[in-house]
């Protein structure tokens, strides 16, 4: 009997559990409510339910992967540990001063930025290292111990250590860590050289501080999770998805939890990438549209990685699957400004009270209400009819918007969808520009609660020709956690000219050795491991690097020039090129074989469950509604159509043909 992989994703409202059979790729998905404050019990309950429904027992589980939004929420809700910070003398205010620029620069009504660590909890340490790594003032260990003592007295329970220039020479931080560990072996302490060793003191310190801030929460969650799974008899390795889309052992994740900050959404992208590999697409965008936002990422062979993301009020500088929020979600509120211009978002009705049509007290019109009014969504579509929407509420809400706009309700609903789409396109275009790709070569894979509903409207507006709706769009992050590869980033600051390519080769070789021993420590076999090289490069004098993928023995200069021109549209052939950091990504692919058919077709000609009136682009359309599960493999149908499934509704707009593949993915292509 073949083994099963389990993936879980703990979200704010639901905990999703995905079970994937290794031999066949068959996927089963379960949703249970998230237990606030005790996320592990929700996970265990979901796993128990999933195993029972599939008729499995714990011995069948060969792999367990978990992702969550716990760390992100800890930052956004400011519910982390009281954290202390040790800094170089003279730089107590690194978090207060930030990069000085205010988020809404000139506004005197904007809220004050409030750091994660109170000024009272920052201590200066006597030490100094120069920009070249030379020690200018030796570390005064007494000032470290004394500082920590004071902080503990003040109630601090986690500690970050961040001195200047430790990206080039971490010795002082390491000595300080050792001194602290000697006195307080149980204190959560992390240092900036180990969380992410990059230049720029504010950014590096912030990564370290976030790590300490979420450390205890994440450690306790990981501890309880492992304990709970063992108690259930699940003895397989437990892996945690990181922001970079790969997984690490639960022990490694607990050591540097900041790396798992975006584990949930990154898992979703990895699941999309995996699915795309299986159906044979290398170039695609993903669209994950939920209640509050629509997020996109780019997969060009592999998911694009970015070193800068945003969490709440803070930038986070760590490699992560590049995920960009491009616009509104299903719960985003539509409103009319005093000059009669229609706007959508950024406010969201969230899960509570939710859109007006949820009839839980929300009165403001949302994107979901517009779906309902235009007929894209039916009153009984969601969760197999277990959740009913109120058309009357939706019409009231959108109707009042229409009054303000001087439009009929139905026109107002359409306008809401058009503006929401336009917002997405406006963010989408700069995004593809930054990535330097031609978007017409790419398809779009859409998931999340509203992704499949909105994807065709976005594709039509953005000029995307091909779409895919994966088999389980409502639980992609859990699926991703089940199928992700083990993956780890290694980075080394070099700061050298290109002339030293031989030196680079040596460093890459060294790094590969380090990576291999890391994999061995993780108990992984290294024979199947892949090692991807890249370098952060720029023209001498610039401050920002681009990440350039390098082949073994490839010409780094040529690779840089090509990437630079793709990205920025010009070249500066007279300028010298420098390398700032070299990176290595070590990956051990999971043992999954290709996915096979997830379910068989019951009939070869689908019967619509009903025909629905949908208003789209000023026209009334009679749209057939199908159960998605009844769409037979390979049969080509034409939009418009509405497809119902447990966790979402797919709206195929006119002008697209669609069909299902053997793995249960729905494909679509623009006519002509």
């Amino acid at each position: 009997m073949s083994g099963w992989r389990i993936g879980v994703d703990v979200g704010g409202t639901f905990t999703d559990v995905a079970l994937v059979e290794e031999a066949t790729g068959r996927v089963g998905v379960y949703k249970v409510p998230t237990t606030v404050g005790e996320p592990v019990s929700g996970v265990l309950e979901g796993v128990r339910e999933g195993l029972a429904r599939e008729g499995l027992d714990s011995a069948d589980v060969v792999y367990f992967g978990a992702g969550s939004t716990l760390a992100v929420n800890t930052i956004i809700q400011r519910s982390g540990e009281p954290t202390g910070l040790l800094v170089t003398q003279g730089f107590r205010d690194v978090l207060e001063i930030r990069r000085t620029r205010l988020p809404d620069a000139p506004s005197f009504e904007a809220a004050r930025p409030v750091p994660l660590v109170r000024r009272a909890h920052v201590r200066e340490v006597r030490e100094r290292v120069g920009a070249d790594g030379a020690v200018l003032r030796p570390l005064d260990t007494d000032s470290v111990v004394q500082g920590v003592e004071e902080l503990l007295e003040a109630g601090v329970t986690a500690l970050a250590v961040s001195f200047l220039h430790t990206y080039i020479n971490p010795a002082h931080e390491q000595v300080a860590q050792a001194a602290i560990a000697e006195c307080w072996p149980d204190l959560f302490v992390c240092a900036s050289w180990e969380t992410w060793p990059q230049q720029r003191e504010y950014e590096r310190t912030l990564v370290c501080v976030m790590n300490a801030y979420v450390g205890a929460t994440m450690r306790s969650y990981y501890g309880k999770l492992e304990e709970g799974l063992r108690a259930m008899g699940i003895g397989c390795p437990v892996q945690i998805t990181q922001s970079n889309g790969g997984t690490v052992s639960i022990g490694e994740a607990a050591r540097i939890p900041v790396r798992t900050m975006f584990s949930g959404p990154a898992s979703g992208v990895m699941a999309a990438a995996k699915a795309a590999r299986e159906y044979g697409e290398a170039k695609l965008f993903t669209l994950d549209m939920g209640g509050t936002s629509a997020d996109m990422s780019l997969i060009d062979g592999a998911p694009r990685v970015s070193v800068e993301s945003t969490i709440g009020d803070f930038p986070l500088f760590l490699p992560a699957v590049a995920i960009e929020t491009i616009g509104a979600g299903g719960g985003s509120i539509a409103w009319v400004d005093p000059h009669g211009v229609l706007k959508v978002g950024p406010r969201s009705a969230g899960a509570d009270p939710g859109p007006a049509c949820y009839d839980r007290g929300g009165r403001e019109p949302t994107v979901t209400d517009a779906y309902l009014v235009t007929g894209v969504l039916g009153e009984n579509d969601l969760l197999g009819g277990r959740m009913t929407l109120s058309r009357a509420r939706a019409e009231d809400a959108v109707g009042s918007l229409g009054e303000a706009l001087g439009m009929e309700t139905i026109r107002a609903a359409e306008a809401v969808l058009r503006v929401a789409t336009a917002n997405m396109v406006a963010s989408f275009l700069p995004m593809i520009a930054r990535y330097g790709v031609d978007h017409r070569e790419f398809s779009l894979q859409a998931y999340g609660g509203a992704g499949p509903t909105h994807a065709f409207m976005l594709a039509a507006e953005a000029g995307i020709q091909r779409l895919v709706i994966p088999h389980a769009p409502g639980a992609m992050c859990a699926v991703g956690a089940a199928v992700a590869d083990v993956q780890m980033d290694f980075v080394r600051s070099v700061r050298a000219g290109l002339s030293d390519e031989k030196g680079m080769e040596e460093m890459f070789t060294e790094m590969e050795e380090t990576a291999r021993s890391w994999l061995a420590e993780q108990g992984l076999e290294t024979a199947s491991a892949e090692f991807e090289r890249s370098a952060d490069m720029r023209y001498e004098g610039q401050s920002f690097e681009i990440m350039v993928g390098l082949d073994r023995n490839g010409d780094a200069q040529e690779a840089f020039q090509r990437r630079y021109e793709e990205t920025f549209g010009y070249l500066d052939p007279d300028s010298a090129i420098e390398v700032l950091q070299i990176r290595m990504l070590a990956r051990v692919p999971n043992r999954m074989v290709g996915a096979a058919s997830s379910r068989l077709c019951e009939s070869d000609r689908p019967e619509p469950v009903e025909t629905r009136e949908v208003t789209h682009q000023g026209r009334q359309l009679a749209v057939p509604v199908y159960q998605r599960a009844r769409i037979p493999t390979g049969l080509k149908l034409s939009g418009p159509a509405v497809l119902l499934q447990y966790d979402t509704t797919v709206f195929v707009t006119p002008g697209f043909a669609f069909w299902a593949d053997a793995a249960g993915n729905l494909h679509a292509e623009a006519d002509g």
């Binding site: 003279g90 730089f91 107590r92 205010d93 690194v94 207060e96 001063i97 990069r99 000085t100 620029r101 205010l102 809404d104 620069a105 000139p106 506004s107 005197f108 009504e109 904007a110 809220a111 004050r112 930025p113 000024r119 009272a120 100094r128 120069g130 920009a131 070249d132 200018l136 200047l164 230049q199 720029r200 504010y202 950014e203 005093p338 000059h339 009669g340 211009v341 229609l342 706007k343 306008a415 058009r418 503006v419 336009a422 917002n423 396109v425 406006a426 963010s427 275009l429 700069p430 520009a433 930054r434 004098g541 610039q542 401050s543 920002f544 681009i546 920025f568 549209g569 010009y570 500066d572």
Partner: protein, 676 residues
């Protein structure tokens, strides 16, 4: 009531294109930051990127990146001066006179590129970057003490830099040959050209999809939309004439005289006039602001635009906002000098103008406007030889900003003021790896924020050690060393700024504002910026907040007791003692009822006892019409006469003053000096 706004485009299409235009300019900014070479471009983002209509109005301008001074940049004069335009052209200039005040100091190099669709002009993509150095008498090209514009660097009249896609290398060479850091400037210019090219790609893409006419109409629409938003905001401010003035301090001015900027903000319905009648004459120092009295001039309306953006965060950011804002800046005054006047340090002036606008609005809306912030966006620049090669290294060191003013409902922000809130600082680790320096301190200054019910933000202490001999440090735009940032409604003013020079092995010695300062190897320059003013009586501040400030080291226990009346012992508030102390403070009249709208601090109060408003106005009136080069001397003589004859002129007798001025002119005329 709101202005009605009916876009000529389909209203939904209008919003769609508005989003797209914004996307284009933000992308330009990203590109420029990522590709820029000087820290001032790549870290501080001292640039503007915009889409501009053929009439010269900025229709879209980045807000997430770059400076917030794009609104009101008027490109009409430079568009007219350039051309005929061809696809693929880029024109550039840094000429204040020919650009009629689009360029306001020589470091700002503007570029613009026409964008065509089907052979017809759609709009221009435009940008400026602050070049780190364009020659002149000091590294970084700005010395506050410059006496004319030619000391401030090279001037490029409106010139074609790229001809139909081909760079004119000879033109670029002439420019770069005059700069101290030609390679870095070149990198920045290439990055700027890259941003313009990207804008062209995007806009032509939109034109192909929607049509050129649709785009032209939509660009007009976004301007009309902003105008409608602005007019309804102005309408909310009660009609009236609101007078307010403030000073640029005299240390680096001729004769050490403070220079006053006087504003009457006139609100009538949905129109606003910024009338600077009464402002002091232009000076023979680099603080003049060449606005050419242009309506809606970007450096005079900053306060207005910031106000609009604060009150309504959905305000669209383009020049439509200032169509209803007219300007009167008298010719020959600080804000509209004769061509050729030195202008390098004019940012001290426009930051002060912005504060003055907010002060005038505070007369209209007492409970809505904040206290004054640090009042400086000073830029420290340095030059030093590379120790091994001897190459002259020039770099911006840090924008020196300070605390913001307290808001009626919340404290100010620490270490950064709203008005200068667009500056990004330079990471010390980046600076230390590019320049032979060590940053020794970058920290908030306790007790520098003005006390109040809500507290002003604290100022910053920045210390820079030079590691090689022959180093020079300049800092343009240091202000608020004498006149404190004002408090509001019985809130205390913020602490002033200071500067110190510390020779190796010695204690810091207080110095005046930095002009061009030689620093020995191992010497340390310390700069303190001002804290923001407080709002409301300090004794009304929540004691728990005072305790928190003490714990955080932003307020000392002494000030907590003396100023706030909160007595703290062993980390706890002593309730009874606090109550007593606060009662005492109330009795002493701290926060007399009703409180004055502004507390200006002792130095300004003392100065204005000597020089009340009407007397300052009278001196300016009596010397009006005299050519600037002569007027300065006559005016100073007249002021000395007033100071000597103080008792005679109280109450003010204007005919006495006029008689003195006639005498002085007579005495100074070539005839008299010849006979002397």
């Amino acid at each position: 009531m709101s202005e009605t706004f009916t876009p000529k485009s389909d209203p939904v299409l209008f919003e769609i294109l508005r989003c797209q235009f914004q996307g284009v300019v933000e992308e330009m900014g990203e590109l420029l930051t990522h590709c820029g070479h000087t820290v001032f471009v790549k870290e501080t983002q001292d640039f503007i990127v915009a889409l501009v209509t053929p009439r010269g109005e900025v229709a879209a301008c980045s807000v997430d990146i770059g400076l917030w001074i794009g609104v009101g940049q008027n490109f009409k004069a430079v568009f007219d001066a350039g051309g005929p335009y061809r696809p693929g052209d880029v024109w550039f200039t840094n000429d204040p006179e020919q650009s009629r005040g689009l360029v306001t100091h020589l470091l700002d190099v503007f570029c613009w590129r026409p964008i065509y669709h089907e052979g017809e002009l759609v709009c221009f993509a435009a940008a400026f970057i602050h070049c780190t150095d364009v020659g002149g008498l000091a590294p970084g090209s700005i010395a506050p003490s410059a006496v004319d514009q030619h000391q401030e660097g090279v001037v490029i009249p409106v010139t074609r830099l790229v001809a139909e896609g081909e760079m004119r290398e000879d033109v670029l060479r002439i420019f770069l040959r005059n700069c101290r850091v030609p390679d870095k400037n070149r990198g920045d210019v290439l990055a700027m050209l890259g941003a313009l090219k990207r804008a062209e790609l995007r806009v032509t893409g939109l034109a192909e999809k929607f049509g050129g006419d649709v785009l032209r109409t939509a660009l007009d629409d976004v301007l009309d939309y902003a105008e409608a938003q602005a007019r309804s905001l102005i309408r909310e401010v009660p009609d009236g004439d609101y007078a307010f003035w403030d000073y640029l301090e005299g240390d680096l001015m001729p004769e050490g005289r403070h220079v006053r900027i006087r504003l009457t903000l006139r609100i009538r319905g949905d129109e606003m006039l910024l009338d600077f009648e009464g402002t002091d004459p232009q000076v023979a120092a680099a603080f003049n602001l060449p606005s050419y009295s242009t309506d809606g001039h970007y450096l005079l309306v900053m306060g207005v635009v910031n106000f609009m953006r604060s009150v309504n965060p959905h305000t669209v950011y383009n020049s439509g906002l200032v169509r209803a804002v007219r300007v009167n800046a008298p010719r020959g005054s600080l804000l509209n000098p004769e061509p050729g006047a030195p202008i390098g340090a004019r940012q001290a002036t426009f930051f002060r103008v912005a504060d003055i606008v907010l002060g005038a609005l505070a007369h209209a809306w007492r409970e809505r406007m904040p206290a004054a912030g640090c009042g400086q966006g000073s830029i420290m620049v340095m030059a030093a030889p590379d120790f091994s090669t001897g190459t002259n290294l020039v770099s911006t060191v840090q924008p020196l900003v300070g605390g913001s003013g307290a808001r009626p409902w919340d404290d100010g922000t620490e270490g950064v003021d709203f008005t200068t809130g667009f500056y990004r600082n330079i990471p010390n680790e980046v600076l230390e790896s590019e320049m032979p320096v060590l940053v020794e301190r970058y920290a908030l200054i306790p007790d520098s924020g003005g006390a109040g019910r809500t507290r002003g933000g604290c100022g910053l202490h920045y210390s820079l050690r030079l590691l090689v001999p022959g180093g020079v440090v300049t800092a343009r735009g240091m202000e608020r060393f004498h006149f404190q940032p004002w408090g509001r409604e019985a809130g205390r003013p913020g602490d002033t700024g200071r500067a110190f020079l510390q020779a190796p092995g010695e204690e810091p010695r207080q110095i005046e504002k930095i002009n061009v300062l030689d620093v020995p190897a191992g010497g340390v320059v310390h700069a303190h910026s001002a804290g923001g003013g407080g709002f409301g009586p300090p004794r009304e501040r929540d004691p728990a907040l005072v305790l928190r400030d003490v714990e955080d080291g932003l307020v000392t226990p002494e000030s907590a007791g003396e100023v706030y009346g909160v007595i703290i012992q062993d980390g706890r508030i002593l309730e009874k003692e606090t109550e007593e102390r606060r009662r005492l403070l109330a009795d002493e009249g701290d926060g007399a009822t009703p409180p004055a709208p502004f507390s200006f601090g002792v130095n300004r109060e003392a100065f204005e006892r000597l020089w009340p408003d009407d007397l300052q106005l009278a001196v300016n009136r009596a010397t009006e019409g005299i050519p600037p080069a002569i007027r300065q001397h006559v005016r100073f003589e007249a002021m000395r006469a007033v100071e000597e004859a103080r008792s005679v002129v109280e109450p003010l007798d204007e005919s006495w003053l006029e008689a003195r001025v006639s005498e002085i002119i007579e005495r100074m005329s070539p005839r008299s000096t010849h006979s002397a």
